[in-house]
């Protein structure tokens, strides 16, 4: 019987030490090894390929009825860019705001908000999923990004579309990027209206990107310039976006 008790004590101690060691020190230490972290980060590529394969490249995100909309659509992230140029635009009601489309395109474009309003519009009621876990359903309206890229004559060398924004966060330029599958997806729009009103400043006025099959941090606000690029590793932090460069979030935000 005493041997039995010893066994049990040893086992409990062993289990507790394994659990404690693994969690408090082990995992953090293991994660500090670049090779191990890199191995775990490799799952991002698996998600990207698996989701493109399982869900399909053209599958549409669910669209909801007006009755499904969140009573209050939460504002997150930057709610008022501090850049003086942006504030001057806001004071002028964005009358002189121009959306620039350049980079690897045949015909660089500069579009006023009036021109964007005259182009064919798409409206969609979709779910916004924050990486933190909350969701909100709202109505977005604007021009399809694919139509603008076709108008600009996208080069065959382009692999990514980068969105340069008017705000900066703590001195880091705010930008995001997506691949061409998402750029030409029918629900990828440059929203100028939300819930049937002109986009408010906290929600990204005058132009906000909607990439409905990815998480909230891809939905860049205050978009000023759209740049077609061959690669991302030679831009800012090299990881394709503000959150990717500065906080370690995955570039592919499909999950």
């Amino acid at each position: 019987m005493s041997k039995l008790l010893l066994d049990r004590r040893a086992l409990v101690r062993g289990l507790a030490m394994t659990a404690g060691g693994l969690t408090l020190a082990g995992c953090d230490k293991l994660y500090a090894q670049p090779k191990f972290k890199h191995l775990l980060e490799g799952a991002e590529g698996l998600h990207y390929r698996a989701q493109r394969l399982l869900a399909g490249r053209d599958a549409l995100a669910r669209e909801y009825a007006a009755s499904d909309m969140s009573p209050i659509f939460r504002v997150n992230g930057n709610s008022m860019p501090s850049a003086s140029a942006y504030q001057a635009h806001a004071a002028a009601n964005f009358a002189d705001w121009r959306l620039v489309i350049d980079g690897l395109v045949a015909r660089p474009l500069q579009l006023s908000l009036t021109q964007l309003a005259q182009a064919p519009q798409r409206a969609q009621i979709t779910r916004h999923d924050c990486v933190e876990g909350w969701s909100a359903i709202g109505k977005w309206q604007g021009v399809q990004l694919g139509a603008l890229l076709r108008a600009a004559g996208l080069s065959s060398r382009a692999n990514y579309i980068v969105f340069h924004c008017a705000d900066d966060s703590g001195g880091h330029p705010y930008y995001e990027s997506i691949d061409l599958v998402d750029a030409f997806h029918p629900q990828t729009i440059l929203a100028t209206h939300m819930n049937d009103q002109r986009l408010a400043i906290p929600h990204g006025a005058p132009i906000r990107l909607r990439v409905e099959r990815q998480l909230g941090y891809k939905q860049a606000k205050y978009v000023m310039r759209i740049e077609a690029r061959e690669r991302l590793d030679d831009l800012f932090g090299g990881k394709g976006g503000f959150w990717e460069d500065n906080a370690g979030y995955a570039w592919y935000a499909g999950i």
């Binding site: 669910r62 209050i72 933190e132 876990g133 359903i137």
Partner: protein, 291 residues
């Protein structure tokens, strides 16, 4: 002994049953290699997923039902803090949890206002990005591991032979008998110890066929990319926020299973039980009349 005291059971038909039934005291092979590997991979994977999951929950420690849910919406569960007091709230029921949940002390002595404390999360200091890297990488291990285990167990007939619930076993009288035997800590001996009893079968089948698939599919339902193609998942679970709630509940039930599982190992003969899931070898408990 279970078989003599309980309702009569048909002898289990088994292809590789030895001619002579093993007796108490014999060292026999109990767990297959695939079962043993899957068991220990899961032990590590579920611990990593639980702890990184708690860190992810820390980013928005509220749960909702339905298609949407954010700060202004009604949460059915919440861990938070009001001033220096931590609390956990389930519907109208609010419990103070200062020091453990909502408000706790970090190893450096600073007071933190986060849902789950540093000792329960991976990583131990707040990082949603890093927790997601852990969680989403191990999600592949969990999903592919379960799929492989299911296929192998169908092929080698582990499911059919060991987990199949027979009609006689689900009679209330039989289940009640097993419950009272467990409550008295009277476990099967001799050859009967080789067979899973009905409570084991129900809990193992519940984990393998209900909880683990549920936690995997509710996890997938939280992916906006995946549900664009597989939008039936949103209907199946009642929306992304309902799926997130069910994901959390399933994790909680897996923790409950783990605690009972460990308790049963400790209440039986731990050395023998642990050996059987490491080496596969198990010494059958002696029958009472053998001493």
């Amino acid at each position: 002994m279970l078989d003599s005291a309980g309702p009569a059971l048909p002898a289990s038909p088994s292809d590789d049953a030895p001619v002579a039934e093993p007796r108490g005291g014999d060292l026999v092979k109990r767990h297959r290699l695939s079962t043993r590997i899957w068991h220990w991979v899961n032990a590590v994977t579920l611990l990593v997923m639980l702890m990184s999951g708690l860190m992810i929950f820390n980013a928005h420690p509220r749960l909702y039902w339905g298609q949407y849910g954010a700060n202004f919406d009604k949460a059915w569960f919440e861990i938070g803090s009001a001033g220096e007091r931590g609390f956990a709230r389930l519907g109208p029921l609010k419990v103070e949890t200062t020091g453990v949940l909502g408000v706790w002390k970090a190893p450096n002595g600073s007071v933190q206002h986060r849902a789950f404390p540093h000792w329960a999360t991976i990583p131990s200091s707040y990082s949603l990005a890093d927790a997601r890297i852990w969680h989403l990488a191990f999600a592949w291990v969990l999903s592919l591991g379960l799929a492989a285990f299911m296929i192998i167990s169908l092929v080698n007939r582990h499911f059919q032979k060991d987990l199949r619930i027979r009609e006689a076993e689900i009679r209330p009288a039989h289940i009640w008998h097993d419950i009272t035997e467990h409550a008295r800590l009277r476990f099967p001996t001799g050859a009967a110890a080789l067979r899973y009893n009905i409570l084991q079968k129900l809990s193992y089948a519940g984990v393998i066929f209900v909880l683990l698939p549920l936690i995997i599919f509710t996890g997938m339902t939280m992916s906006p990319a995946l549900t664009s193609g597989w939008s039936f998942l949103l209907d199946l679970f009642g929306g992304r926020q309902s799926a997130r709630s069910l994901h959390f509940i399933a994790a909680f039930l897996l923790v409950a299973f783990f605690l009972v599982h460990i308790a049963m190992v400790l209440l039986a003969v731990p050395f023998n039980e642990v050996r059987s899931i490491i080496t596969g070898r198990y010494r059958l408990p002696k029958e009472k009349d053998e001493g």
